[in-house]
């Protein structure tokens, strides 16, 4: 489903939470909206998902105006969306299956339909053996999977993710994002993903809008924004990003303290004659000391490579071979 926003405004007692946002979210993609806390992204998503009405502006779903619906059509319209949240917001009074069943219950599905669909969804989110588990017994990642299953129960056309991975650790975040990507493709969903983490945008989104002080400061394809950021806020987000997700570097070099000032690598290439291709690297201050890390490939014949590694180790650099980061 295609979503168009036209000059949306929302004001809380004089504070302009959303200040004239126009946005076109094409169907069948993952659209990221990134911003710091207070940038207006929660307000924006609450308006797009029709939980809150804008003070000004228009919202269209597939060209159909949605911001001026009466109460009844509003409730029906919301049933075409799924939504997942930072704090999962599952019903503690219901077990996993009953949580997933809820949207179908309020939509009047039959008991048999519900049972069948719940099982299907449990398989989709890889929780087939947890159906009868109480919510409190699940880990954060499992809770978010239940929430995803619940959000998908009535075959929504749009899925909103409101900081859905912000309470999860990096590994779990990755697995939730890859689940979302799979589901997006399988169900031809439009996914609107709100986040403050650039990693999340990088790892999952096709398009992104950068939000600051209630306005969009930059938008476009994720590839373009990453390769050519224009606004300082975007740059700021990108600068906090670690580069560790480059594919299969040959070696990881770690070094500390004074070594960060020594041109070991350039000396190495001159003295031994290997070529070093640096994929990414950086120096960070850890507990008052500078610690450096370089991901690189070393090319040359085996003998040269061995010499090069010995050379590096002799100079106090820790060398790890072929660490795979994806």
């Amino acid at each position: 489903m295609r979503i168009d926003l036209e000059n949306l405004k929302k004001d809380y007692n004089g504070f302009k939470a959303v200040d004239g946002i126009s946005l076109h979210i094409t169907e069948n993609c993952i659209y990221g909206i990134i911003g710091k806390s207070g940038a207006g992204k929660s307000t924006l998503v609450r308006m797009i998902s029709l939980l809150e009405s804008p003070d000004e502006g228009k919202i269209f779903y597939d060209k159909k105006r949605m911001d001026n619906l009466d109460k009844k059509s509003l409730i029906l319209a919301r049933r075409q969306f799924g939504m997942i949240f930072q704090n999962f917001n599952l019903f503690s009074s219901r077990n996993v299956k009953e949580n997933i069943a809820y949207p179908m219950e309020i939509n009047g599905y039959s008991k048999i339909e519900i049972k069948k669909k719940v099982q299907e969804l449990l398989n989709t989110v890889d929780l087939a053996d947890k159906g009868l588990s109480p919510i409190s017994k699940l880990s954060g990642g499992q809770k978010q999977r239940v929430a995803i299953a619940r959000a998908l129960a009535c075959n929504p056309k749009v899925l909103f993710c409101d900081e859905a991975t912000s309470a999860l650790d990096p590994q779990t975040t990755r697995s939730i994002l890859s689940l979302l990507k799979d589901i997006q493709k399988k169900m031809n969903l439009t996914v609107v993903l709100i986040t403050h983490q650039m990693e999340v945008v990088r790892d999952s989104c096709d398009f992104v809008s950068v939000l600051d002080e209630g306005k969009i400061v930059e938008q476009g394809m994720v590839k373009d924004i990453f390769s050519n950021p224009k606004h300082p806020v975007t740059n700021d987000f990108l600068s906090h990003l670690s580069n560790d997700n480059v594919k299969k570097p040959g070696y990881v070099l770690r070094f500390r303290g004074s070594l960060t000032d020594t041109p070991v690598i350039s000396k190495l290439t001159r003295e031994i004659g290997v070529e070093i291709n640096i994929r990414s690297g950086g120096v960070q201050e850890v507990a008052g000391e500078e610690i450096g890390k370089i991901l690189c490939d070393i090319s040359g014949d085996e003998e040269q490579k061995k010499q090069a590694i010995d050379y590096l180790i002799k100079h106090g650099i820790v060398v790890e071979k072929e660490v795979i980061n994806e």
Binding site: L51, F91, Y102, P134
Partner: protein, 220 residues
């Protein structure tokens, strides 16, 4: 001794009848009132259909009834009892003021229990397109159930206390027994047993209430 036993038994029965029916009626009035207090409350407090004026009026009425001393409320309600039950003394007549006194208490207890429900969960239910009644009956009440049970336990214990006061207007029950035999006729044996039975009743209700609500929490 036999006489004492039968007196205490009869009064215990009357107390149980009073507490049961006044509990039931106060719930019938207090539950919808409590839900209304919550749903019409401000959005920050979780109200799903904020109506400040209605909420304010309801809140005032509930507060007035709650701050009324029970004895005076009972006396003021005597004509009302006569209108409904046909008489103003006895066990049945006492149920009317007891229910009226407990209903606002129940309403606040229900409101407080509902306010404990995570607003995020309600937002999730709304985002899925739940109607207000679906939110109330399929989300709010089930989510708040353990706290609701605690609140109902508290109400019943209060009612046992109130029902003892009802002895003053000849309401029957253990309080009446204690006043007539224990206080006015200096029969300390009966006074003693009346108090013991009241204490045991309170303990039993508290025990049962705790058991039920903790059992519910364990399954979550």
């Amino acid at each position: 001794m036999n006489n004492v036993l039968s007196l205490v038994l009869e009064s215990t029965w009357q107390t149980l009848v009073m507490v049961f029916f006044s509990g039931l009626f106060s719930m019938v009035i207090g539950l919808p009132l409590g839900i209304l207090l919550y749903t019409t409350g401000s959005e920050e407090q979780g109200g799903i259909t904020p109506k400040p004026l209605l909420n304010n009026i309801l809140g005032r009425i509930v507060n007035i009834f709650r701050s009324f001393p029970f004895l005076i409320l009972m006396i003021l309600l005597l004509p009302f009892s006569r209108l409904i039950i046909g008489k103003s003394i006895g066990t049945a007549a006492t149920i009317v003021p007891l229910s009226v006194a407990a209903a606002p208490f129940v309403a606040r207890v229900i409101e407080t229990a509902l306010k404990e429900v995570d607003p995020g969960v309600i937002q999730a239910a709304r985002s899925m397109g739940s109607t207000n009644s679906q939110i109330i009956f399929k989300v709010l009440l089930p989510e708040a159930l353990p706290s609701l049970v605690d609140g109902i336990t508290l109400t019943i214990i209060n009612l046992i206390g109130y029902s003892a006061m009802a002895g003053v207007i000849g309401g029957g029950g253990l309080g009446d027994l204690a006043i007539r035999y224990g206080y006015q006729r200096f029969n300390s044996v009966i006074l003693f047993w009346a108090v013991i039975v009241i204490l045991v009743l309170v303990e039993l209700v508290q025990f049962a209430g705790n058991k039920i609500s903790s059992k519910m929490l364990v399954r979550r």
